[in-house]
C-alpha cells in the first residue's frame, strides 16, 4: 500500500510509463521503502536533467553544431587550470579533472562527452567585459577526440598554451574584448594574461589533510594558522630548504634567518640543531619534526627541480602570500639595476609558474624565461613600488637596493609587454578634443599602435584634472578601463603546430563570460557562442509551389519577406562592422532594451534601460526618451539610467495601456525588420533579415545597394523600377524552381516575366492581371468567374475573333497557330507532269 502512495507522489513528475516500470521492479526485486525512495528520487533527477531548455541544441541541429569542426574548441590535456571550491584553490590539469568528472556521469553529444557540474559550485577566474578578473562558475566540462594538430601559442612574457585551432582566444579591438579563433591568431597579436587575482581567503589549514602525525613529539597543532611566520617559513623552504626523513634543513647564511627560524620552532616546540655542513664551514640549521617534514614534502616537494607552491597558498590571505614571497625573494631574489628588474631563478618550472600566480594575487605581473634548465622569473621595475609595499625584504642591503631601483631612462628599456592594444588611436582622438601633453615617444606611434600602461596612466592623471563632458568623457572612460584592466595584453611571439599528446582535448563552459584562465594566466574563450542558436540561425522562407504562386500572382507582400543585404568593402570582411550594420537594420523596441517595471502604487512605469545595449545601438538614454515623447506624447523623466513615464491621468487602465504602448516603441532600426542573422559566405559577411524594407535598408551606411536584394517584388519595383522588377521575377522564379531540382529553360520564365511587366507595372498572371485582360471573351470566361465574364460581355455586346488558343479549343476548331495556321486544299484532278 505504501509503495503505491509513494509512487503516486511522483505522478506528473516522472512519465507514467516509467512509474509503472518502477512499480513492477519494486515488486520483482522486493525493494525496501528506502531503496524505492532513492530510486524515485534518482529517476526524477535524471528525467529533469534530460529535459531540454529553450536554446539547448537538440536533435539534428545539435548533432550538426557539435559535429562541426568549428565548434571543437578545446585545450590540451596537460593545460592546468585554476579551480576554486569553497574558497579553496586547486591547480589541476584540465584533462585529469574532466576525465574524473566524466567517469562519474556523462552524456554524449556527437563525439563530445559532456557533464554538467553547475551544482558543484566550482569556479574559475574569468575575464569580464569590463576587463576585470572575476570568479565565475563552471557549468559544464567536456572532452572530445583530439584533432590531428594542435597549436601552441607562446607569449613574450614566457607563457604558453596548447589548444585546438578553432579554440578561440580573446583579443582587444576597438577598445572592446572580442573572441577570435586560434587559426586566425598571428604573431604580434596580443592576448590577455591575468594580472590580478582576487580571492576570498582561507585563514587556517588542517594539518592532518597534508601529513599525519607519527610521533607525539614535535607534533604540529591540528590547525595551522596561515600567518606571516608560517608563510615566511614555506617561502624560505621553497627557496633554499631541504627535507630528509624527519629533518628540515636550512643553510643559515644570516643571523636574521636563524633568529626567525628559532622563533618559529619555539612556537611549535621543535628541537633545533646547528650543524656544520659536510666538507664546509657553513652551518646548517636543522628543524626536527617528522610531521612538518612530511607536510612540506607533500605540499611543496623536495627535489629542487620539482618544488612547487603549496596549493593552499593560492587561497591564503594576502599577509601569508606576501610573507611567503618575502621568504623566497629574501633568500634567492636578486635586483638588477641595469635591466631595471627584480629576478628569481630556480630549476623548478612549477615553482616559477606558482610564484607568478601568487604575484597575481598582489596585482604584480611577472615574466618567465627558460634557459639551460634554469628558469627565470622577472618583475619589471614598474611593480617595484608595489613589491616594496606588499612584499619587501628583511635583508637590509636588499631593501636598500630596491629603493635604489631606478625607472628605466631610455624608452627602449620600458616594459614592452604591458601595452594596451588600440590605445594609440584613443589617445589621438582625445588629444583632438582637449589639450594634453603627449610625450614624444608616443606621438610617433601609428594609430594602430599600442601604448604602454604606465604612460597611459600618467596621461590619464593629467587629463583628470580638467573637467570634460560629452563624447570625450566616454573616451576617457575607455582610457580608464584600459589603465585599470586586470589583464596584461601579452604579445604572441610564436605559434607552432604540435601533435596532441593525449587522445582527447578538453573544454569548460563558464557562466556568463564563456572564458577561463589557465594556470599560466592566459585567458581563453571557450565558445564562439554563435553556434548555440539551435534552430534560430535560419530564416524561414516560403519555397516550392506556394512561392511560385506568390511570384506569378505578384502578391503585394510575400508570405515570408526577407532581404539579403550585401555589404560594401570595408564592412563585408569585418565581423564587428557587419554586426553594427545589423544593429542598425534590426528593429529595436523598448521591450528589447529595458526591463519594464509597472508601479501601481505610484502610478508610473519605470524603464530600466540596459545601457550596454543602448550604447551598442549607438543611442543615448536621451534618444530613447525623445523617441518615447514623440511617439506617445508622455513626458519622460530620468532616474539614473532609468526612465520614468506616467500616464496622462491617474487611471489603472491608462497605466496598463501605457505599458503596452511603451513596449512597442521603436528606438532604432528599420520598421518591420524583426530579426537579423549574419552569415559568412565566401569570405564575406552577409546579413539576412526577416522582414523586408528595401528602400530603407539601402540607405544604411555600409550596405552595398548594387547587390542587396529582397524577395518582395513590389519593393524592388518601387525602389529600382520596372526593369529591375522584371529581372527580380526571373531570378526569384528560377531560384524557386532550381531549389526544387527542376530545370526549366530560362526563356519560359522570361516570357512570363515580360508579360507581367510589359505594361510598366507589375501585373499578376490571373483574373486581375494578364488573364483578366485578354481580348477574347471565351478565353477570359474559361479562366475564372465564367458567368460574370459572359454576362458582362453580353451586356456590352462583345465579339470574339477566335484567334487565341482557349477560345478555339472551346468551339472545337483548329487553333490559328503552328500547323493549324495552314489551310490545306487538295485538288485531285491535277495532272501529273512527266
Amino acid at each position: 500500500m505504501k509503495i503505491k502512495q509513494k509512487i503516486k507522489k511522483y505522478e506528473g513528475k516522472i512519465p507514467p510509463k516509467v512509474l509503472k516500470d518502477i512499480q513492477t521492479k519494486t515488486k520483482e526485486e522486493n525493494l525496501t521503502e528506502k531503496e524505492l525512495d532513492k530510486l524515485l528520487e534518482k529517476t526524477k533527477e535524471e528525467f529533469d536533467r534530460k529535459q531540454v531548455e529553450y536554446g539547448d541544441p537538440v536533435g539534428t541541429v545539435a548533432a550538426q553544431s557539435i559535429g562541426e569542426p568549428g565548434t571543437q574548441m578545446s585545450i590540451s590535456y596537460n593545460e592546468k587550470v585554476i579551480l576554486r571550491k569553497d574558497d579553496e584553490i586547486k591547480i589541476q590539469e584540465i584533462g585529469k579533472f574532466t576525465d574524473k568528472k566524466l567517469k562519474e556521469d556523462s552524456r554524449k553529444k556527437g563525439n563530445w562527452e559532456v557533464t554538467d557540474i553547475s551544482n558543484e559550485e566550482i569556479e574559475v577566474p574569468s575575464l569580464t567585459e569590463k576587463e576585470k578578473i572575476e570568479w565565475k562558475p563552471v557549468e559544464e566540462c567536456s572532452r572530445h577526440p583530439a584533432p590531428n594538430k594542435l597549436i601552441e601559442v607562446k607569449t613574450k612574457s614566457g607563457r604558453n598554451i596548447k589548444a585546438t585551432k578553432s579554440h578561440s582566444f580573446l583579443i582587444r579591438k576597438n577598445n572592446d574584448i572580442k573572441p577570435v579563433s586560434g587559426s586566425e591568431l598571428k604573431e604580434g597579436d596580443r592576448i590577455p594574461s591575468m594580472r590580478k587575482l582576487k580571492q576570498n581567503c582561507i585563514t587556517k589549514i588542517k594539518t592532518n589533510n597534508y601529513a599525519k602525525p607519527k610521533r607525539t613529539k614535535s607534533k604540529l597543532p591540528e590547525k595551522i594558522k596561515l600567518d606571516k611566520e608560517f608563510g615566511w617559513l614555506i617561502g624560505t623552504y621553497l627557496a633554499v630548504g631541504k627535507c630528509k626523513n624527519h629533518v628540515i634543513s636550512f643553510p643559515s647564511q644570516q643571523q636574521d634567518v636563524e633568529k626567525k627560524i628559532k622563533t618559529i620552532s619555539n612556537r611549535f616546540n621543535f628541537t633545533l640543531k646547528n650543524t656544520l655542513q659536510d666538507n664546509s664551514q657553513e652551518k646548517d640549521l636543522k628543524i626536527n619534526s617528522k610531521q612538518l617534514s612530511d607536510l612540506l614534502t607533500n605540499t611543496c616537494n623536495t627535489e629542487p627541480s620539482n618544488k612547487k607552491i603549496p596549493e593552499f597558498a593560492y587561497s591564503a590571505r594576502d599577509k601569508f602570500v606576501s610573507a611567503l614571497l618575502k621568504g623566497i625573494f629574501d633568500t634567492k631574489g636578486a635586483i638588477d639595476n641595469e635591466k631595471h628588474e627584480i629576478n628569481f631563478e630556480s630549476r623548478s618550472i612549477k615553482l616559477i609558474n606558482g610564484i607568478s600566480l601568487l604575484l597575481n594575487r598582489l596585482n604584480i605581473f611577472s615574466m618567465k624565461k627558460t634557459q639551460n634548465q634554469q628558469n627565470k622569473l622577472t618583475i619589471p621595475q614598474k611593480y617595484a613600488n608595489r613589491f616594496k609595499e606588499k612584499i619587501g625584504f628583511n635583508k637590509e642591503y636588499k631593501t636598500k637596493e630596491i629603493y635604489e631601483l631606478k625607472e628605466p631612462s631610455t624608452p627602449d628599456q620600458i616594459d614592452k609587454i604591458d601595452k594596451v592594444p588600440g590605445t594609440a588611436k584613443l589617445i589621438k582622438e582625445i588629444s583632438e578634443q582637449i589639450d594634453i601633453d603627449i610625450p614624444k615617444e608616443i606621438d610617433n606611434i601609428p594609430e594602430t599602435g599600442n601604448i604602454e600602461r604606465t604612460t597611459l596612466q600618467n596621461l590619464l592623471e593629467d587629463i583628470n584634472q580638467e573637467k570634460i563632458k560629452g563624447k570625450t568623457e566616454e573616451k576617457i572612460k575607455e582610457l580608464e578601463k584600459a589603465v585599470e584592466s586586470e589583464v596584461i595584453w601579452d604579445e604572441i611571439i610564436e605559434i607552432e603546430e604540435k601533435d596532441p599528446s593525449h587522445d582527447y582535448v578538453y573544454d569548460f563552459s563558464v557562466k556568463d563570460t564563456e572564458n577561463f584562465t589557465t594556470y599560466q594566466g592566459i585567458v581563453t574563450h571557450n565558445t564562439m557562442r554563435t553556434f548555440h542558436y539551435a534552430g534560430v540561425a535560419e530564416i524561414d522562407v516560403t519555397l516550392g509551389l506556394p512561392r511560385l504562386i506568390e511570384i506569378v500572382d505578384a502578391r503585394k507582400t510575400p508570405s515570408s519577406p526577407m532581404m539579403t543585404v550585401k555589404l560594401e568593402e570595408g564592412y563585408a570582411e569585418d565581423r564587428d562592422k557587419a554586426r553594427e550594420v545589423g544593429w542598425e537594420i534590426e528593429e529595436t523596441l523598448i521591450e528589447d532594451i529595458s526591463n519594464i517595471e509597472t508601479d501601481y502604487s505610484k502610478m508610473r512605469v519605470k524603464l530600466e534601460l540596459d545601457m550596454e545595449m543602448v550604447k551598442q545601438r549607438n543611442l543615448t538614454k536621451e534618444d530613447v526618451a525623445d523617441q518615447i515623447e514623440s511617439e506617445l506624447g508622455n513626458e519622460v523623466k530620468f532616474e539614473d539610467d532609468s526612465l520614468i513615464i506616467r500616464p496622462e491621468s491617474s487611471s489603472y487602465r491608462k497605466l496598463l495601456r501605457l505599458v503596452e504602448n511603451l513596449k512597442e516603441v521603436r528606438v532604432s532600426g528599420i520598421e518591420g525588420i524583426k530579426r537579423v542573422i549574419i552569415r559568412k559566405e565566401s569570405g564575406e559577411y552577409t546579413i539576412y533579415t526577416e522582414g523586408s524594407a528595401f528602400t530603407e535598408a539601402l540607405k544604411v551606411d555600409g550596405v552595398d545597394a548594387s547587390r542587396t536584394r529582397t524577395n518582395d517584388l513590389h519593393e524592388i519595383y518601387d525602389a529600382l523600377g520596372i526593369e529591375a522588377a522584371r529581372q527580380a521575377i526571373i531570378d526569384e522564379a528560377k531560384d524557386t524552381l532550381e531549389e526544387q531540382g527542376l530545370e526549366v529553360d530560362v526563356r519560359h520564365v522570361m516570357l512570363v516575366s515580360d508579360i507581367m511587366t510589359n505594361h510598366g507595372k507589375i501585373k499578376q498572371i490571373g483574373r486581375h492581371g494578364v488573364s483578366g485582360e485578354k481580348e477574347s471573351v471565351l478565353a477570359r470566361a474559361s479562366f475564372e468567374v465564367t458567368v460574370n465574364h459572359l454576362l458582362d460581355a453580353g451586356k456590352r455586346g462583345e465579339k470574339d475573333e477566335l484567334k487565341g488558343v482557349p477560345e478555339n479549343v472551346i468551339v472545337g476548331q483548329p487553333v490559328d497557330l503552328g500547323t493549324g495556321v495552314v489551310d490545306l486544299t487538295m485538288s485531285p484532278n491535277i495532272k501529273k507532269e512527266d
Binding site: 539534428t60 550538426q64 553544431s65 559535429g67 562541426e68 568549428g70 564562439m528 557562442r529 554563435t530 553556434f531 542558436y533 534560430v536 540561425a537 565581423r575 557587419a578 554586426r579 545589423g582 544593429w583 534590426e586 521591450e591 528589447d592 532594451i593 529595458s594 526591463n595 519594464i596 517595471e597 509597472t598 508601479d599 501601481y600 502604487s601 505610484k602 502610478m603 519605470k606 540596459d610 545595449m613 491617474s650 489603472y652 505599458v659 513596449k663 530579426r675 537579423v676 542573422i677 549574419i678 552569415r679 559568412k680 559577411y685 532550381e738 531549389e739 526544387q740 531540382g741 527542376l742 530545370e743
Partner: protein, 101 residues
C-alpha cells in the same frame, strides 16, 4: 491595487496612500505594488560555417560543378506504379537535381 475596506470600491494611489474614490478612506501603502517584465534578450547571431549537411550522402557527380558527393532524399511524386523521384543536392555548390528512373 486595493479596494476600500469600507465600501469596496477601487482605491487610487495618492502621495503614498491609497485613497477611496467614493468615501475618502485612506490606507497607507506598505507593500510593493510593482510588477516587472524583463527584456527580451536578443543578439545577432553570426554564423561562420557553411550550413552543415543533414542529408545522407551518395557518390554521384554534380552536373554543375563536377563534385562527386551529394546529399539525397526521395519522394513519391508520380503515380504509385512508378518509381520514386530521387533528389540530389551537391555538397559543394548546392545545385539540386532530380532523377526519375
Amino acid at each position: 491595487m486595493e479596494f476600500c475596506p469600507k465600501c469596496g470600491s477601487m482605491m487610487m494611489p495618492e502621495d503614498g496612500y491609497f485613497k477611496c474614490k467614493e468615501c475618502d478612506v485612506v490606507v497607507e501603502i506598505k507593500e510593493d505594488y510593482t510588477s516587472t517584465e524583463n527584456k527580451v534578450e536578443s543578439e545577432i547571431p553570426v554564423i561562420e560555417e557553411k550550413n552543415p549537411n543533414v542529408l545522407p550522402t551518395a557518390e554521384v557527380k554534380c552536373p554543375e560543378c563536377g563534385h562527386n558527393k551529394a546529399g539525397w532524399w526521395m519522394r513519391q511524386l508520380r503515380s504509385a506504379d512508378e518509381s520514386e523521384t530521387r533528389f540530389y543536392r551537391c555538397l559543394e555548390c548546392g545545385h539540386t537535381w532530380r532523377e526519375y528512373d
